[in-house]
Amino acid sequence: MTTATTPASAPGRASGRERGGVPGRLPWPLVIPALLGLAFLVLPLAGLLVRAPWSTLPQRLAEPQVLQALRLSLVTATIATAVCLLLGVPLAWLLARTAFPGRRLIRALVTVPLVLPPVVGGVALLLVLGRRGLIGSWLEAAFGVSLPFTTAGVVVAEAFVAMPFLVISVEGALRAADARFEEAAATLGASRWTVFRRVTLPMIAPGVAAGAVLCWARALGEFGATITFAGNFPGTTQTMPLAVYLALETEPEAAVVLSLVLLAVSVVILAGLRERWVSRI
Protein backbone atom coordinates (compact mmCIF):
# COMPACT_ATOMS: atom_id res chain seq x y z
CA MET A 1 0.00 0.00 0.00
CA THR A 2 2.86 2.43 0.66
CA THR A 3 3.95 2.14 -2.93
CA ALA A 4 0.44 2.98 -3.97
CA THR A 5 0.60 6.35 -2.29
CA THR A 6 4.11 7.37 -3.37
CA PRO A 7 3.11 8.99 -6.66
CA ALA A 8 0.77 11.37 -4.86
CA SER A 9 3.05 12.21 -1.99
CA ALA A 10 6.15 12.64 -4.13
CA PRO A 11 5.03 13.68 -7.57
CA GLY A 12 8.34 15.32 -8.32
CA ARG A 13 10.02 11.85 -8.22
CA ALA A 14 13.11 13.52 -6.74
CA SER A 15 13.18 12.13 -3.21
CA GLY A 16 11.28 8.92 -3.94
CA ARG A 17 14.12 6.60 -2.94
CA GLU A 18 15.07 8.16 0.35
CA ARG A 19 13.08 6.64 3.16
CA GLY A 20 13.08 7.47 6.86
CA GLY A 21 14.36 10.92 6.03
CA VAL A 22 13.27 12.68 9.23
CA PRO A 23 16.35 12.89 11.50
CA GLY A 24 16.34 12.21 15.23
CA ARG A 25 16.01 9.25 17.58
CA LEU A 26 13.60 6.50 16.63
CA PRO A 27 10.54 6.58 18.90
CA TRP A 28 10.34 3.48 21.12
CA PRO A 29 6.51 3.38 21.13
CA LEU A 30 6.80 2.55 17.43
CA VAL A 31 9.94 0.46 17.41
CA ILE A 32 9.02 -2.02 20.15
CA PRO A 33 5.61 -3.02 18.71
CA ALA A 34 7.20 -3.13 15.27
CA LEU A 35 9.83 -5.61 16.44
CA LEU A 36 7.23 -7.68 18.30
CA GLY A 37 5.12 -7.69 15.15
CA LEU A 38 8.08 -8.83 13.11
CA ALA A 39 8.90 -11.58 15.59
CA PHE A 40 5.26 -12.70 15.55
CA LEU A 41 5.33 -13.02 11.78
CA VAL A 42 8.75 -14.60 11.49
CA LEU A 43 8.86 -17.01 14.46
CA PRO A 44 6.48 -19.61 12.93
CA LEU A 45 8.81 -19.67 9.92
CA ALA A 46 11.71 -20.28 12.30
CA GLY A 47 9.69 -23.16 13.77
CA LEU A 48 9.44 -24.74 10.32
CA LEU A 49 13.16 -24.31 9.74
CA VAL A 50 14.08 -25.82 13.10
CA ARG A 51 11.81 -28.83 12.64
CA ALA A 52 12.72 -29.50 9.02
CA PRO A 53 14.22 -32.95 8.47
CA TRP A 54 17.34 -31.65 6.73
CA SER A 55 18.94 -35.09 6.32
CA THR A 56 16.10 -36.55 4.24
CA LEU A 57 15.39 -33.30 2.41
CA PRO A 58 16.96 -34.20 -0.95
CA GLN A 59 15.06 -37.50 -1.29
CA ARG A 60 11.76 -35.88 -0.40
CA LEU A 61 12.28 -33.10 -2.89
CA ALA A 62 13.08 -35.59 -5.63
CA GLU A 63 9.63 -37.17 -5.36
CA PRO A 64 7.79 -36.51 -8.62
CA GLN A 65 4.58 -35.59 -6.79
CA VAL A 66 6.30 -32.63 -5.15
CA LEU A 67 7.44 -31.09 -8.42
CA GLN A 68 4.08 -31.81 -9.99
CA ALA A 69 2.23 -30.00 -7.20
CA LEU A 70 4.70 -27.11 -7.23
CA ARG A 71 4.40 -26.64 -10.97
CA LEU A 72 0.62 -26.78 -10.79
CA SER A 73 0.64 -24.19 -7.98
CA LEU A 74 2.86 -21.77 -9.89
CA VAL A 75 0.94 -22.14 -13.15
CA THR A 76 -2.52 -21.78 -11.62
CA ALA A 77 -1.54 -18.86 -9.35
CA THR A 78 -0.05 -17.02 -12.34
CA ILE A 79 -3.08 -17.60 -14.57
CA ALA A 80 -5.38 -16.61 -11.69
CA THR A 81 -3.40 -13.37 -11.28
CA ALA A 82 -3.73 -12.66 -14.99
CA VAL A 83 -7.48 -13.21 -14.76
CA CYS A 84 -7.64 -10.91 -11.73
CA LEU A 85 -5.69 -8.19 -13.57
CA LEU A 86 -7.95 -8.46 -16.59
CA LEU A 87 -11.14 -8.17 -14.56
CA GLY A 88 -9.95 -6.49 -11.36
CA VAL A 89 -8.26 -3.36 -12.75
CA PRO A 90 -11.38 -2.29 -14.70
CA LEU A 91 -13.48 -3.04 -11.64
CA ALA A 92 -11.23 -0.91 -9.46
CA TRP A 93 -11.41 1.88 -12.04
CA LEU A 94 -15.18 1.67 -12.05
CA LEU A 95 -15.26 1.96 -8.26
CA ALA A 96 -12.77 4.83 -8.08
CA ARG A 97 -13.58 6.95 -11.13
CA THR A 98 -17.28 6.70 -11.82
CA ALA A 99 -20.36 7.56 -9.81
CA PHE A 100 -23.36 5.28 -9.87
CA PRO A 101 -26.04 4.39 -7.36
CA GLY A 102 -25.12 1.56 -5.00
CA ARG A 103 -21.39 2.03 -5.44
CA ARG A 104 -20.74 1.70 -1.71
CA LEU A 105 -22.63 -1.55 -1.61
CA ILE A 106 -20.69 -2.86 -4.61
CA ARG A 107 -17.42 -1.93 -2.92
CA ALA A 108 -18.47 -3.84 0.20
CA LEU A 109 -19.48 -6.82 -1.92
CA VAL A 110 -16.06 -6.88 -3.59
CA THR A 111 -14.49 -7.61 -0.22
CA VAL A 112 -16.83 -10.55 0.50
CA PRO A 113 -14.25 -13.19 -0.50
CA LEU A 114 -11.89 -11.66 2.09
CA VAL A 115 -14.36 -12.24 4.90
CA LEU A 116 -15.86 -15.50 3.72
CA PRO A 117 -14.13 -18.61 5.05
CA PRO A 118 -12.52 -20.03 1.88
CA VAL A 119 -14.29 -23.37 2.29
CA VAL A 120 -17.62 -21.54 2.22
CA GLY A 121 -16.38 -19.69 -0.85
CA GLY A 122 -15.72 -23.08 -2.45
CA VAL A 123 -19.24 -24.28 -1.66
CA ALA A 124 -20.65 -21.02 -3.03
CA LEU A 125 -18.70 -21.54 -6.25
CA LEU A 126 -20.08 -25.07 -6.51
CA LEU A 127 -23.60 -23.75 -6.09
CA VAL A 128 -23.07 -21.38 -9.02
CA LEU A 129 -20.55 -23.13 -11.28
CA GLY A 130 -21.01 -26.76 -10.18
CA ARG A 131 -22.69 -29.42 -12.24
CA ARG A 132 -26.06 -28.53 -10.76
CA GLY A 133 -25.20 -24.88 -10.18
CA LEU A 134 -27.07 -21.88 -11.56
CA ILE A 135 -24.57 -21.24 -14.36
CA GLY A 136 -22.75 -24.56 -14.21
CA SER A 137 -25.74 -26.65 -15.27
CA TRP A 138 -26.20 -24.38 -18.30
CA LEU A 139 -22.47 -24.55 -19.14
CA GLU A 140 -22.61 -28.33 -19.04
CA ALA A 141 -25.79 -28.56 -21.13
CA ALA A 142 -24.69 -26.00 -23.74
CA PHE A 143 -20.96 -26.65 -24.07
CA GLY A 144 -20.32 -29.84 -22.11
CA VAL A 145 -18.00 -27.83 -19.86
CA SER A 146 -17.70 -28.79 -16.20
CA LEU A 147 -15.35 -26.75 -14.03
CA PRO A 148 -15.15 -28.73 -10.76
CA PHE A 149 -12.28 -31.24 -10.61
CA THR A 150 -10.37 -29.52 -13.42
CA THR A 151 -7.28 -27.32 -13.43
CA ALA A 152 -9.49 -24.50 -14.73
CA GLY A 153 -11.54 -24.98 -11.56
CA VAL A 154 -8.40 -24.38 -9.48
CA VAL A 155 -7.83 -21.10 -11.33
CA VAL A 156 -11.44 -20.07 -10.72
CA ALA A 157 -11.20 -20.81 -6.99
CA GLU A 158 -7.89 -18.97 -6.64
CA ALA A 159 -9.07 -15.96 -8.65
CA PHE A 160 -12.22 -15.73 -6.55
CA VAL A 161 -10.28 -15.59 -3.30
CA ALA A 162 -7.41 -13.41 -4.55
CA MET A 163 -9.18 -10.77 -6.65
CA PRO A 164 -10.21 -8.49 -3.73
CA PHE A 165 -6.52 -7.97 -2.87
CA LEU A 166 -5.91 -6.62 -6.35
CA VAL A 167 -9.08 -4.53 -6.55
CA ILE A 168 -8.50 -2.91 -3.18
CA SER A 169 -4.90 -1.94 -3.83
CA VAL A 170 -5.61 -0.69 -7.36
CA GLU A 171 -8.57 1.31 -6.13
CA GLY A 172 -6.37 2.81 -3.40
CA ALA A 173 -3.77 3.75 -6.02
CA LEU A 174 -6.45 5.34 -8.21
CA ARG A 175 -7.79 7.41 -5.33
CA ALA A 176 -4.29 8.56 -4.39
CA ALA A 177 -3.38 9.43 -7.98
CA ASP A 178 -3.83 13.04 -9.00
CA ALA A 179 -6.97 13.22 -11.14
CA ARG A 180 -5.88 16.56 -12.61
CA PHE A 181 -3.53 14.80 -15.03
CA GLU A 182 -6.49 12.85 -16.36
CA GLU A 183 -8.57 16.01 -16.59
CA ALA A 184 -5.78 17.78 -18.45
CA ALA A 185 -5.56 14.93 -20.94
CA ALA A 186 -9.32 15.00 -21.39
CA THR A 187 -9.37 18.75 -22.06
CA LEU A 188 -6.70 18.19 -24.69
CA GLY A 189 -9.14 15.94 -26.48
CA ALA A 190 -8.23 12.43 -25.32
CA SER A 191 -11.09 9.97 -25.05
CA ARG A 192 -11.76 8.31 -21.70
CA TRP A 193 -10.24 5.06 -22.94
CA THR A 194 -7.11 6.86 -24.14
CA VAL A 195 -6.86 8.69 -20.83
CA PHE A 196 -7.04 5.40 -18.98
CA ARG A 197 -4.47 3.73 -21.20
CA ARG A 198 -1.95 6.56 -21.59
CA VAL A 199 -2.31 8.52 -18.34
CA THR A 200 -4.09 6.58 -15.60
CA LEU A 201 -2.48 3.18 -16.07
CA PRO A 202 1.15 4.42 -16.12
CA MET A 203 0.39 6.55 -13.06
CA ILE A 204 -1.00 3.68 -10.99
CA ALA A 205 1.45 1.05 -12.28
CA PRO A 206 3.16 0.62 -8.88
CA GLY A 207 -0.21 0.08 -7.22
CA VAL A 208 -1.21 -2.45 -9.86
CA ALA A 209 2.10 -4.26 -9.44
CA ALA A 210 1.75 -4.34 -5.65
CA GLY A 211 -1.83 -5.60 -5.99
CA ALA A 212 -0.79 -8.26 -8.47
CA VAL A 213 1.95 -9.48 -6.14
CA LEU A 214 -0.48 -9.69 -3.21
CA CYS A 215 -3.00 -11.42 -5.44
CA TRP A 216 -0.44 -13.94 -6.69
CA ALA A 217 0.77 -14.70 -3.18
CA ARG A 218 -2.79 -15.25 -1.96
CA ALA A 219 -3.57 -17.49 -4.93
CA LEU A 220 -0.42 -19.51 -4.32
CA GLY A 221 -1.38 -20.25 -0.72
CA GLU A 222 -5.06 -20.91 -1.48
CA PHE A 223 -6.38 -24.06 0.16
CA GLY A 224 -10.01 -24.05 1.27
CA ALA A 225 -11.83 -22.86 -1.84
CA THR A 226 -9.59 -24.94 -4.07
CA ILE A 227 -10.09 -28.26 -2.29
CA THR A 228 -13.83 -27.62 -1.98
CA PHE A 229 -14.49 -26.42 -5.52
CA ALA A 230 -11.81 -28.16 -7.57
CA GLY A 231 -11.20 -31.21 -5.40
CA ASN A 232 -7.85 -32.87 -4.93
CA PHE A 233 -6.25 -35.07 -7.55
CA PRO A 234 -2.50 -35.27 -8.19
CA GLY A 235 -1.52 -33.62 -11.45
CA THR A 236 -4.82 -31.89 -12.18
CA THR A 237 -5.99 -30.13 -9.04
CA GLN A 238 -3.55 -30.98 -6.22
CA THR A 239 -1.66 -27.74 -5.57
CA MET A 240 1.09 -27.41 -2.97
CA PRO A 241 -1.15 -26.33 -0.07
CA LEU A 242 -3.36 -29.38 -0.70
CA ALA A 243 -0.33 -31.65 -0.86
CA VAL A 244 0.91 -30.12 2.41
CA TYR A 245 -2.42 -30.71 4.12
CA LEU A 246 -2.60 -34.35 3.09
CA ALA A 247 1.04 -34.98 3.93
CA LEU A 248 0.26 -33.66 7.40
CA GLU A 249 -2.19 -36.55 7.86
CA THR A 250 0.46 -39.22 7.64
CA GLU A 251 3.93 -37.65 7.48
CA PRO A 252 4.23 -34.33 9.30
CA GLU A 253 7.91 -34.15 8.29
CA ALA A 254 7.03 -34.32 4.63
CA ALA A 255 4.50 -31.55 5.21
CA VAL A 256 7.24 -29.36 6.68
CA VAL A 257 9.45 -29.98 3.66
CA LEU A 258 6.64 -29.16 1.24
CA SER A 259 5.83 -25.97 3.14
CA LEU A 260 9.47 -24.92 3.00
CA VAL A 261 9.59 -25.49 -0.74
CA LEU A 262 6.48 -23.39 -1.24
CA LEU A 263 7.87 -20.67 1.02
CA ALA A 264 11.29 -20.63 -0.59
CA VAL A 265 9.90 -20.45 -4.11
CA SER A 266 7.43 -17.70 -3.27
CA VAL A 267 9.96 -15.63 -1.35
CA VAL A 268 12.47 -15.85 -4.21
CA ILE A 269 9.85 -14.87 -6.79
CA LEU A 270 8.35 -12.08 -4.69
CA ALA A 271 11.75 -10.63 -3.80
CA GLY A 272 12.74 -10.77 -7.46
CA LEU A 273 9.55 -9.09 -8.59
CA ARG A 274 9.89 -6.39 -5.97
CA GLU A 275 13.33 -5.49 -7.20
CA ARG A 276 12.17 -5.40 -10.80
CA TRP A 277 8.80 -3.78 -10.51
CA VAL A 278 7.70 -2.33 -7.27
CA SER A 279 10.71 -0.40 -6.08
CA ARG A 280 11.68 0.83 -9.53
CA ILE A 281 9.51 3.87 -9.25
Binding site: A39, V123, G130, T228, F233
Partner: protein, 262 residues
Amino acid sequence: MFRPLSRWTAALALALAAVSGCGSGGPATSATAPAAGGDARQLTVFAAASLTGAFTELGRIFKDAHPGTTVMFNFGSSATLAQQITQGAPADVFAAASPATMKTVTDAALATAPTTFARNRLRIAVPAGNPAGVDELKDLADPEVKVALCAAQVPCGAAAVKALEAAGLEVTPVTLEQDVKATLTKVELGEVDAALVYATDVPASGGKATGIDFPEADKAINDYPIAALTEAPAGPLARQFVDLVLSRQGRDVLAEAGFQVP
Protein backbone atom coordinates in the same frame (compact mmCIF):
# COMPACT_ATOMS: atom_id res chain seq x y z
CA MET B 1 17.76 -1.20 3.40
CA PHE B 2 19.99 -3.48 5.44
CA ARG B 3 22.09 -0.98 7.35
CA PRO B 4 19.34 0.17 9.69
CA LEU B 5 18.35 -3.46 10.17
CA SER B 6 21.76 -4.47 11.48
CA ARG B 7 21.64 -1.57 13.89
CA TRP B 8 18.55 -3.10 15.39
CA THR B 9 19.80 -6.65 15.61
CA ALA B 10 20.45 -6.30 19.33
CA ALA B 11 16.96 -4.97 19.92
CA LEU B 12 15.49 -7.78 17.85
CA ALA B 13 17.39 -10.38 19.86
CA LEU B 14 16.01 -8.78 23.00
CA ALA B 15 12.48 -8.93 21.64
CA LEU B 16 12.95 -12.57 20.65
CA ALA B 17 14.19 -13.40 24.14
CA ALA B 18 11.15 -11.68 25.62
CA VAL B 19 8.80 -13.59 23.34
CA SER B 20 10.37 -16.97 24.02
CA GLY B 21 10.30 -16.12 27.72
CA CYS B 22 6.54 -15.67 27.45
CA GLY B 23 6.35 -18.95 25.57
CA SER B 24 7.89 -21.01 28.34
CA GLY B 25 5.85 -19.24 31.02
CA GLY B 26 2.51 -19.63 29.27
CA PRO B 27 1.76 -23.36 29.50
CA ALA B 28 2.77 -23.54 33.15
CA THR B 29 0.19 -20.98 34.21
CA SER B 30 -2.56 -22.42 32.03
CA ALA B 31 -1.87 -25.93 33.37
CA THR B 32 -2.46 -24.81 36.93
CA ALA B 33 -5.65 -22.92 36.08
CA PRO B 34 -8.06 -25.91 36.01
CA ALA B 35 -6.80 -27.17 39.38
CA ALA B 36 -7.32 -23.75 40.92
CA GLY B 37 -10.80 -23.70 39.36
CA GLY B 38 -11.93 -26.44 41.75
CA ASP B 39 -15.51 -27.51 41.10
CA ALA B 40 -15.98 -25.84 37.73
CA ARG B 41 -14.96 -28.92 35.80
CA GLN B 42 -14.37 -29.21 32.12
CA LEU B 43 -13.90 -32.30 30.01
CA THR B 44 -12.32 -32.01 26.57
CA VAL B 45 -12.92 -34.82 24.10
CA PHE B 46 -11.04 -35.09 20.81
CA ALA B 47 -13.06 -37.30 18.47
CA ALA B 48 -13.09 -38.34 14.82
CA ALA B 49 -15.42 -36.27 12.62
CA SER B 50 -17.64 -39.30 11.92
CA LEU B 51 -18.50 -39.43 15.65
CA THR B 52 -19.98 -35.92 15.67
CA GLY B 53 -23.64 -36.95 16.04
CA ALA B 54 -23.21 -39.84 18.47
CA PHE B 55 -20.71 -38.10 20.74
CA THR B 56 -22.68 -34.87 20.93
CA GLU B 57 -25.56 -36.97 22.24
CA LEU B 58 -23.26 -38.81 24.68
CA GLY B 59 -21.90 -35.47 25.87
CA ARG B 60 -25.44 -34.40 26.75
CA ILE B 61 -25.98 -37.64 28.71
CA PHE B 62 -22.65 -37.18 30.50
CA LYS B 63 -23.49 -33.62 31.49
CA ASP B 64 -26.83 -34.75 32.94
CA ALA B 65 -25.07 -37.43 34.99
CA HIS B 66 -22.35 -35.02 36.18
CA PRO B 67 -24.01 -31.68 36.97
CA GLY B 68 -21.61 -28.74 36.86
CA THR B 69 -19.44 -30.35 34.23
CA THR B 70 -19.00 -28.89 30.77
CA VAL B 71 -18.06 -31.16 27.91
CA MET B 72 -16.11 -29.64 25.03
CA PHE B 73 -15.67 -31.50 21.77
CA ASN B 74 -13.01 -31.12 19.12
CA PHE B 75 -14.20 -33.06 16.09
CA GLY B 76 -11.89 -33.45 13.13
CA SER B 77 -9.72 -35.71 11.08
CA SER B 78 -8.25 -38.38 13.39
CA ALA B 79 -4.74 -37.77 12.10
CA THR B 80 -4.98 -34.03 12.75
CA LEU B 81 -6.34 -34.64 16.25
CA ALA B 82 -3.54 -37.10 17.01
CA GLN B 83 -1.08 -34.49 15.79
CA GLN B 84 -2.63 -31.85 18.06
CA ILE B 85 -2.50 -34.19 21.08
CA THR B 86 1.15 -35.10 20.55
CA GLN B 87 1.92 -31.37 20.21
CA GLY B 88 0.47 -30.81 23.68
CA ALA B 89 -3.20 -29.90 23.14
CA PRO B 90 -5.03 -30.16 26.51
CA ALA B 91 -7.26 -33.14 25.68
CA ASP B 92 -8.79 -35.62 28.14
CA VAL B 93 -10.18 -38.29 25.84
CA PHE B 94 -9.23 -39.32 22.32
CA ALA B 95 -11.57 -41.32 20.10
CA ALA B 96 -10.01 -42.13 16.74
CA ALA B 97 -11.38 -43.54 13.50
CA SER B 98 -8.43 -45.87 13.05
CA PRO B 99 -6.00 -47.84 15.22
CA ALA B 100 -3.10 -46.25 13.27
CA THR B 101 -3.95 -42.72 14.39
CA MET B 102 -4.44 -43.90 17.98
CA LYS B 103 -1.01 -45.54 17.79
CA THR B 104 0.60 -42.11 17.21
CA VAL B 105 -0.75 -41.10 20.61
CA THR B 106 0.08 -44.33 22.46
CA ASP B 107 3.59 -44.32 20.93
CA ALA B 108 4.10 -40.89 22.47
CA ALA B 109 3.09 -42.47 25.82
CA LEU B 110 0.14 -40.07 26.08
CA ALA B 111 -2.41 -42.90 26.32
CA THR B 112 -2.35 -46.54 27.32
CA ALA B 113 -4.57 -49.51 26.47
CA PRO B 114 -7.09 -48.09 24.01
CA THR B 115 -10.37 -50.01 23.67
CA THR B 116 -12.23 -50.63 20.42
CA PHE B 117 -15.70 -49.24 21.02
CA ALA B 118 -17.25 -49.14 17.54
CA ARG B 119 -16.82 -50.33 14.00
CA ASN B 120 -17.75 -48.58 10.80
CA ARG B 121 -18.13 -49.99 7.32
CA LEU B 122 -18.13 -48.32 3.96
CA ARG B 123 -21.17 -47.68 1.87
CA ILE B 124 -21.66 -46.24 -1.61
CA ALA B 125 -23.30 -42.84 -1.39
CA VAL B 126 -25.17 -41.53 -4.41
CA PRO B 127 -27.02 -38.22 -4.85
CA ALA B 128 -30.80 -38.26 -4.39
CA GLY B 129 -32.33 -39.83 -7.50
CA ASN B 130 -29.10 -41.72 -8.31
CA PRO B 131 -28.56 -40.00 -11.72
CA ALA B 132 -25.86 -42.41 -12.89
CA GLY B 133 -27.85 -45.51 -11.89
CA VAL B 134 -25.20 -46.93 -9.56
CA ASP B 135 -26.23 -50.25 -7.95
CA GLU B 136 -23.02 -51.96 -6.91
CA LEU B 137 -19.33 -51.39 -6.40
CA LYS B 138 -18.30 -52.35 -9.92
CA ASP B 139 -20.39 -49.51 -11.38
CA LEU B 140 -17.81 -47.15 -9.88
CA ALA B 141 -15.21 -48.44 -12.35
CA ASP B 142 -17.30 -47.14 -15.26
CA PRO B 143 -15.38 -44.14 -16.69
CA GLU B 144 -18.68 -42.34 -17.24
CA VAL B 145 -19.36 -42.33 -13.51
CA LYS B 146 -17.74 -39.49 -11.56
CA VAL B 147 -16.45 -40.85 -8.26
CA ALA B 148 -15.13 -39.11 -5.14
CA LEU B 149 -12.99 -41.04 -2.67
CA CYS B 150 -11.25 -40.01 0.53
CA ALA B 151 -7.50 -39.55 0.13
CA ALA B 152 -5.55 -42.70 1.00
CA GLN B 153 -3.86 -40.79 3.86
CA VAL B 154 -7.08 -40.58 5.90
CA PRO B 155 -8.87 -43.64 7.38
CA CYS B 156 -11.90 -43.62 5.06
CA GLY B 157 -9.57 -43.48 2.06
CA ALA B 158 -7.46 -46.35 3.34
CA ALA B 159 -10.65 -48.38 3.78
CA ALA B 160 -11.79 -47.49 0.25
CA VAL B 161 -8.49 -48.69 -1.20
CA LYS B 162 -8.83 -51.94 0.74
CA ALA B 163 -12.42 -52.54 -0.41
CA LEU B 164 -11.62 -51.81 -4.06
CA GLU B 165 -8.60 -54.09 -3.90
CA ALA B 166 -10.72 -56.85 -2.37
CA ALA B 167 -13.16 -56.46 -5.27
CA GLY B 168 -10.31 -56.36 -7.81
CA LEU B 169 -11.52 -53.03 -9.24
CA GLU B 170 -9.62 -50.13 -10.81
CA VAL B 171 -11.46 -46.92 -10.04
CA THR B 172 -10.20 -43.52 -11.21
CA PRO B 173 -11.81 -40.93 -8.96
CA VAL B 174 -12.12 -37.29 -10.00
CA THR B 175 -11.06 -36.19 -6.53
CA LEU B 176 -9.42 -37.51 -3.37
CA GLU B 177 -11.05 -35.58 -0.55
CA GLN B 178 -9.43 -34.60 2.74
CA ASP B 179 -12.07 -36.19 4.95
CA VAL B 180 -15.27 -38.17 4.79
CA LYS B 181 -17.55 -35.15 5.33
CA ALA B 182 -16.00 -33.34 2.36
CA THR B 183 -16.46 -36.47 0.25
CA LEU B 184 -20.12 -36.67 1.20
CA THR B 185 -20.60 -32.95 0.44
CA LYS B 186 -19.58 -33.62 -3.17
CA VAL B 187 -22.36 -36.22 -3.35
CA GLU B 188 -24.94 -34.00 -1.64
CA LEU B 189 -24.28 -31.21 -4.13
CA GLY B 190 -24.51 -33.66 -7.03
CA GLU B 191 -20.96 -32.90 -8.21
CA VAL B 192 -20.11 -36.58 -8.31
CA ASP B 193 -22.27 -39.60 -9.15
CA ALA B 194 -20.98 -41.79 -6.35
CA ALA B 195 -18.58 -41.85 -3.41
CA LEU B 196 -17.38 -44.31 -0.82
CA VAL B 197 -18.17 -43.02 2.66
CA TYR B 198 -18.85 -44.50 6.07
CA ALA B 199 -22.26 -46.06 6.60
CA THR B 200 -22.77 -43.64 9.51
CA ASP B 201 -22.35 -40.58 7.31
CA VAL B 202 -25.21 -41.31 4.94
CA PRO B 203 -28.03 -40.70 7.46
CA ALA B 204 -26.27 -37.44 8.44
CA SER B 205 -26.87 -36.04 4.93
CA GLY B 206 -30.57 -35.55 5.69
CA GLY B 207 -31.89 -37.29 2.57
CA LYS B 208 -29.63 -35.52 0.07
CA ALA B 209 -27.65 -38.73 -0.38
CA THR B 210 -28.70 -42.36 -0.49
CA GLY B 211 -26.61 -45.25 0.75
CA ILE B 212 -26.03 -48.54 -1.06
CA ASP B 213 -24.48 -51.45 0.83
CA PHE B 214 -21.98 -53.66 -0.95
CA PRO B 215 -20.53 -57.02 0.15
CA GLU B 216 -16.85 -56.05 -0.30
CA ALA B 217 -17.26 -53.56 2.55
CA ASP B 218 -16.75 -56.50 4.93
CA LYS B 219 -13.10 -56.52 3.86
CA ALA B 220 -12.55 -52.97 5.03
CA ILE B 221 -14.09 -52.53 8.45
CA ASN B 222 -12.71 -49.63 10.46
CA ASP B 223 -12.09 -50.09 14.16
CA TYR B 224 -12.62 -47.06 16.38
CA PRO B 225 -10.38 -47.04 19.49
CA ILE B 226 -10.94 -44.77 22.49
CA ALA B 227 -8.62 -43.95 25.39
CA ALA B 228 -8.44 -41.61 28.36
CA LEU B 229 -5.20 -39.66 28.04
CA THR B 230 -2.55 -40.14 30.71
CA GLU B 231 -2.05 -36.41 31.19
CA ALA B 232 -5.77 -35.58 31.14
CA PRO B 233 -6.31 -32.20 32.85
CA ALA B 234 -9.78 -33.41 33.95
CA GLY B 235 -8.33 -36.45 35.73
CA PRO B 236 -10.87 -39.18 36.60
CA LEU B 237 -13.62 -37.51 34.53
CA ALA B 238 -11.81 -38.71 31.42
CA ARG B 239 -12.08 -42.35 32.49
CA GLN B 240 -15.76 -41.84 33.39
CA PHE B 241 -16.52 -40.56 29.89
CA VAL B 242 -14.78 -43.57 28.34
CA ASP B 243 -16.84 -45.84 30.62
CA LEU B 244 -20.03 -44.15 29.42
CA VAL B 245 -19.07 -44.73 25.77
CA LEU B 246 -18.41 -48.43 26.52
CA SER B 247 -21.61 -48.85 28.60
CA ARG B 248 -24.90 -50.33 27.42
CA GLN B 249 -26.29 -46.80 27.02
CA GLY B 250 -23.27 -45.64 25.02
CA ARG B 251 -23.48 -48.62 22.71
CA ASP B 252 -27.16 -47.93 22.07
CA VAL B 253 -26.39 -44.35 21.03
CA LEU B 254 -23.61 -45.52 18.72
CA ALA B 255 -25.76 -48.26 17.18
CA GLU B 256 -28.49 -45.68 16.63
CA ALA B 257 -26.00 -43.61 14.63
CA GLY B 258 -25.26 -46.58 12.40
CA PHE B 259 -22.09 -47.94 14.02
CA GLN B 260 -21.52 -51.62 14.65
CA VAL B 261 -20.79 -52.11 18.33
CA PRO B 262 -18.65 -54.99 19.57
